[in-house]
Symmetry: C2
Subunit: 274 residues, 2 copies
């Protein structure tokens, strides 16, 4: 990167889940072959206990500016820093990776004061004020959606396709006002599919609306009367924006890539300042 | 079987999920090798559209006595009958297999009038009156528990072990009174496990209580003021009995094996009567 601009990008599927600590240096060397010996800033699960080096969680409240630990010995001749996750003790919660996007949000909008919603595998709602992460709350919505849609009996009934906004909104509204009714509606998707040929895209919209509706109900203290910025993938962010709009909450949007790059860039500036 | 008594039992892992229709006869012949050419009564997914022969769903309300279709040609020289599932059109719902246990409940207790609760992969609550299945409701509780406990990020936090009754009851009660709070509590199990070493058996009790609590909330019209008989595996039935007792509903229990054998035996008598 040069500033917040990507000069060259490479992907690798060699992630923390499949590596022992002694193999990270080799994977990084391979991924960055031919690149100058500039500093490396890493974030996410690479800093977990099972990662390369443990980058201990910073307890809230904490500055949104990144905190980092060094990988000893400048592997491959490059300084390598790993961004620390954030933890909350009561109620217990953790994040790793999202703190970098929040640092990016603050880098791009230094006066931001409000709620960041980061939808994904484990969606986070984060209260930010005076440049600090005050507290936050995680939900397993993305992971549950994937498990139910792809691995439960509903995999036969839930398919790809455009999300019907009306079906999605109805499911959000039902799940918010009567969460237990949404629970009763899950197997019903399978039964309607067997008995009356429920459209697989409609089943997907209803399942998605049910889970996001549960999350909206549980996250009410986070979004009610708040200024919310959603940082996530476009299609998923649109669903959350739609659910919030139905509650009269206008949400700003920021791309997850913009936020992440700005966060890494902020960490790099901080590294240079020592 | 001889009446309701098992003379000899064999298991096979060659189920409907891995068989094409032309292979069922061979699997049955192998499983029953050396046995006399008595009639065969089959129930469950063998009668689904992807099974051996489709045994069409009987619509509710319908007699609890089994309805059957014949497999053409008496494969292996034995008459083979497949018990039909039951369907409900509004709200859409289906069962295959549980109708045999209900037939068994009625065979063992012909005057039964009340609710049968059949906990399992897809738990069913079934209203039975005057020898008929009136209506029913399915929940994905067992399947969701398996997916979350074994395949989500909670697999690192949820372990085997005795279920702490107090933790289970608290989770049931929380999920019943504020279902959305239970939703917020799922990722918290992971965070408590990371930050404060939450006992894996305690995490299991809380996850189980949350899901059963949601089901109890959604199934309230089924158990409130009702006579309930639970038909299921012992440990799971005990959890449901505990949750119902906390609501002041005493539940009778019947073993799933007794109910199934009584149902198959009732179907056999019906077959003999033509």
């Amino acid at each position: 990167m040069s500033g917040r601009t990507v000069v060259e990008a490479r992907d690798s599927d060699q992630g923390m889940g499949g590596l022992t600590p002694d193999r990270f240096a080799g994977v990084l060397a391979q991924a960055t072959q031919g690149w100058p010996a500039v500093p490396v800033i890493a974030c996410g699960m690479v800093g977990s206990r099972q990662g390369w080096v443990e980058a201990p969680y910073a307890p809230v409240p904490c500055p949104a500016a990144p905190r980092m630990v060094a990988v000893p010995g400048d592997p491959g001749g490059r300084p390598v820093r790993v961004i620390c996750g954030v933890r909350q003790d009561d109620p217990a919660d953790v994040m790793r990776g999202e703190e970098t996007q929040i640092a990016g949000l603050l880098a791009l909008d230094p006066d931001f004061d409000g709620i960041a919603c980061l939808p994904g595998t484990h969606t986070k709602w984060v209260r930010i004020s005076a440049g600090e992460i005050c507290n936050f709350k995680s939900f397993m919505t993305g992971e549950l959606f994937g498990l139910i849609a792809n691995q439960s009996v509903l995999r036969h009934s839930v398919g790809e396709g455009d999300c019907d906004p009306a079906l999605f909104r109805d499911a959000v509204s039902d799940a918010m006002s009567r969460p237990e009714r949404g629970y009763a509606g899950l197997f019903q998707l399978r039964a309607e599919s067997l008995l009356s040929g429920l459209n697989p895209a409609a089943a997907r919209a209803r399942l998605s609306g049910t889970l996001i509706g549960w999350e909206m109900a549980a996250a009410r203290p986070w979004w009610l009367g708040s200024q919310v910025t959603i940082i996530g993938a476009p299609a998923l962010s649109a669903l959350y924006a739609d659910a919030l709009a139905a509650q009269g909450v206008p949400a700003a949007r920021m791309s997850v890539q913009d936020a992440t790059l700005a966060g890494l860039s902020a960490a790099h500036r901080q590294f240079l300042q020592g």
